[in-house]
Homo-oligomer: 134 residues x 4
């Protein structure tokens, strides 16, 4: 049982619906993706061909910022109105898609981009599954 | 001339289009709104009737997170594709609208909520004007 | 092998020293602690006795902010000069200590505070072990 | 009267001491410095000689993260114990010093680095003055 699961289980506002599982998965995927993207941005900055990785660095930084904000807002589980959550998770899925595609272009040359592309894809999926369940 | 204006003017990727003005205004409004919302959340936590301000605290925290992420992504001005920017600015406008409306309910009792509601409205406008210009 | 481990392994600036293990552990602990503290703040806000949990909410929010900033800066592994890293990790350990102690006071009544106190303690340890290794 | 000043004035926990002015100045300086550093990182990424600006990009990103976290924690004005605030503001001053020095090296070639160095210096001063007043 993950700590996020434990926290959601003991949260006084636990909705009890089937949404919980998707919510937990999305919070965890966002946390992982933010971490990996921050690391990938820095790894790209350390590569000799950094000049060709500038778009990748920017995509990494954007994606890390989106994932962190999404993780935080999802943790707040604002009751009732899901308009904000929906709009933000959509934007986050978009950031993950863009970053994943960009990283994939360098995945054969830079292994960190390969690992990052995978994390982005996992997070994009988790976002889309949560969106479908809301 | 604000520092943000100076920075955009000296940025090598300056687009030179009319978008610049809206972009600058939105970055500045997001920065201000994030600051004010963080302060409002804490002021609400310090009020005697904190139990009635819980929704307001959450809206403040959500809005601060959205504004910070939006400010950061806008500062990166990812060239070409505006899909992410558009989705994020829409989500940010939504966070500002929700927080502004919630703060307004307590504006007569708590002056910090009045100041915050104003900042949220300014930021929502800046977001919508940028969206229209993109 | 965790994704953070994979990312550090494939980072062009991998130092190869024994520091790597402590660095990875600290990045991961910060990520977990930030997540848990954000969730604990919201869970506290949802409790009936929220008025008595205000100090805990603030400590949670402070700790989440410190852990996120620390995770990001550690991921950048600024070469050579460790002055900033040292100062920040010290501040992070302090935030974890304060939040852990505050959560512990409510741990018997609120299980989320118990889970959070544990995460804070793990993160404080990871910070102190990294400090000792730098 | 700035919005931060208005918010601190209407905060129920206003300390009324002379610290208020330094606190406000530091919150505002951190907000400005975070904004400018994020913009400078991206401007550096857009320069032709990006390969020579990698250390500057990293310093910018570190400084932006420190300034944001500091702004948030200062806004929470945790009562009583200033241990965390002190440690964090120290770390923030260090990040500003490092980033300011790094930006200054490129200030003659890149005007955005010049503007950023100035913002870092202002923020470092605001941090040190708050530290002296605590």
């Amino acid at each position: 049982m993950s700590v996020v699961e434990q926290m959601l289980d003991t949260h006084p506002g636990n909705r009890g619906f089937g949404v919980e599982g998707k919510l937990r998965a999305c919070i965890e995927a966002c946390g992982e993706c933010a971490q990996v993207c921050t690391l990938c941005a820095d790894a790209c900055l350390g590569e000799r061909d950094v000049a060709e990785l500038v778009t990748c660095v920017r995509a990494d930084l954007d994606c890390a910022d989106l994932c962190e904000a999404t993780q935080r807002v999802l943790s707040r589980r604002t009751e009732g109105d899901d308009t904000l959550v929906r709009a933000l998770v959509k934007a986050c899925a978009e950031a993950c898609r863009m970053c994943g595609e960009e990283c994939e272009r360098h995945a054969s040359r830079h292994e960190h981009c390969w690992v990052c592309a995978e994390a982005c894809r996992r997070c994009e999926s988790a976002c889309r599954e949560l969106l479908a369940a809301l």
